[in-house]
Symmetry: none
Subunit: 218 residues, 4 copies
DNA sequence: AATGAATGAGCCTTCATTCAT
DNA sequence: TATGAATGAAGGCTCATTCAT
């Protein structure tokens, strides 16, 4: 994310050297591991440092306090997630709306699901974190990416592409999270995912994307 | 909810006297207030007790520990929420799918939005709370209520009502939460809400609910 | 014990009515039960009252505070113990030293061992209890009882009966406790008990009690 | 003691640096001081830390909880005590039984008496402490030390040295404690101590240690 | 630069005791 | 007189953060 973080959340130093980058990565990984293994309420700086193989002191050289660590972690996560979605969007320029929806949902779903423990850990780490700016920036990036893609669809005659687009994203992102939290068995999750594709497609079709005849889900 | 809570989360004593009931209510209210005013990580038993106008000792007479308080709070909240939705569902038996979707989304959205600070507070309080059972029971209640309603629609020819129903709920609940977290201005929120109605309707129509011609949103 | 307890440890009211005596007994029993089942550090007034089937309020009517309860409990225990030993001593007036030692040790050992959990519970309850006066009175009673018995032995030619007597009691009481704390298997305990008898007898014989020839242990 | 302590009672970290060792010693000393000055029931982590001149946090770096501190303290104490007795035993190899008993009792008595406040404090700290393993290990060490010594006596013809030995130790240790608890004036204590020597000697003589003629107490 | 011992505010929880009913 | 809800001081323990080495 290229947003300015709230001043107090900035990481202390930018990694200039390879060694530093390695250390920071180790700290990030350790944070996730602790989060998964012990839960948010047992996520302590000491534990993270220990798991990362560095001293607390060193950790505090990179992250002036716990919050900044979590902030940076979420930043990195959202950045990667956004990137994946952007790549997908670019790759589906000019395709049919059906293909777009299919690809968008598949990508996002996959990204969230492939390491569900990590996803869950990050959801929980974000609580009580002043990460509105992060969420916002992520939303904007996604918005831009999908909008450009949608518009590129042949035959589109959307009246309010902005609204349609933001709706689509809210629905997709929201549904994924909801399904996540209900801890349904994978088969049910997949079934819902496919229904979600159908639903989005029906919506787009109705909104002027394509004719009814093209409704198709892989 | 009439689920058995995990043993260790049970409240200590059921209020027998009116005085006790008052006390418990005060504690619940205080918890919400503290949650709103200070956030989850500053929610301490002392602060809650103080705000509720009772001593910590008294609090511990009703809730064996902090977690059980949060559990009970969420239980109460979900119970009321479920109740509201059930009432709506009953009231729309036999109506058209359009009316149903409209009413369902309106009710849920309203319930979540009218006291958005409370909603937000409860979302955050639930983190790290072993409330799976609660979520589950809530989901089942909702599932049952909307399913019965949907089936009662004239002309319905749904093939897999179970899947359709669960999808609908995941989408609606998920979207509400997502919109919530993005902190969009109310006008945008409402716009998305209406789009959501359209989307659900399009989905149901496509799935065999009614003919395209009836698509209508208030 | 007929000692004046430290003023602040006095029980609040003497049981005048049968009902009160029953209640007090229930409280004593409950105290012992809690002590055995949960240990000293979980011995709370509430738990005792609950187990005794009375309310805390009622308990506080008989015992102005926790300490007074424990004091009274120990008093009762030592009183009964002393009584048992006194009876034995009286019953062995004029017998041989060997019979006396045998009986004394047997009685005391039996009293301590027959309900070892109770004994242990009372040992632990006495810690940090200002019960010096109790111990003292108990010691004096024992001293008097055994001394009179010892002197009544035919042929005794003890030079310093007072010292011999106090030594005997210290050795016996101390050994019992020590064996107790080491948690040896019963067979070992019994073996040591018999050795203790031999030892005491050897001591008395040497000190002028009887001729070597009479050393005999049952 | 070289026993494995119950897992949960282990000290957290072994002192690697001189500074840490100093800290730990200060904590031990402080614990004893608090125990003496205030009693077991006022022994709080805060008070100990304060008296030791460290913060609670530091204390918890070395002892994971209060119990482990008391455990370690008792361990250290018993270790030193055992060592003293062992030295005495070694120093009296091959001597007469009379000299052995004299030395054994003198050493143990001295060790317990020279700082009677400390001894008393430690007795009381051990209540409700799961220190059976400690007691056991101590007993075994003592047993071994005194047995080897006893056997080395010229002319010994003990039939069951094991039983005799364990009896001797129980009697000596028990008597010391009993005398201790009765708070007799020092002169009485010493008188009893000498009688105890006589008694033990009479016992050993009778049990085949030596001829009656050698009974002698310093 | 890196380390990790030390700090201490603050959290959750218990329990002896009181007192309105 | 009996009850048990309410009290709140005090205890054990954690953990973000600092700083001497």
């Amino acid at each position: 994310m290229d947003v300015l973080p709230p001043r107090h959340l900035k990481a202390r130093k930018q990694p200039r050297q390879a060694r530093a980058a390695t250390t920071i990565d180790a700290i990030f990984e350790a944070t996730i591991q602790v989060l998964i293994a012990e839960g948010t309420h047992r996520l302590t700086t000491t534990r993270v440092a220990e798991r990362a193989g560095v001293s607390v002191g060193t950790m505090y050289q990179y992250f002036p306090h716990k919050q900044s660590l979590l902030y940076a972690l979420n930043e990195r996560y959202l950045d990667r997630l956004a990137h994946r979605v952007e790549v997908t969007c670019l790759a589906h320029h000019g395709r049919t709306t059906g293909e777009m929806v299919e690809a968008l949902i598949a990508t996002y779903w996959e990204a969230k699901t492939e390491r569900s423990d990590v996803t869950r850990a990050l959801y929980s780490s974000a609580v009580e974190l002043d990460n509105e700016a992060l969420i916002d920036a992520f939303a904007k990036r996604m918005d831009a990416a999908t909008r450009v893609m949608l518009v590129s669809a042949p035959n589109n005659r959307y009246t309010d592409i902005g609204l349609i687009n933001v709706t689509l994203l809210s629905v997709i992102f929201g549904t994924v999270r909801n399904v996540f939290e209900r801890n349904l068995p994978p088969s049910d999750q997949n079934a819902i995912r496919d229904e979600l594709k159908r639903m989005c497609l029906a919506y787009l079709t109705m909104a002027g994307g394509e004719t009814c005849a093209t409704i198709q889900v892989a």
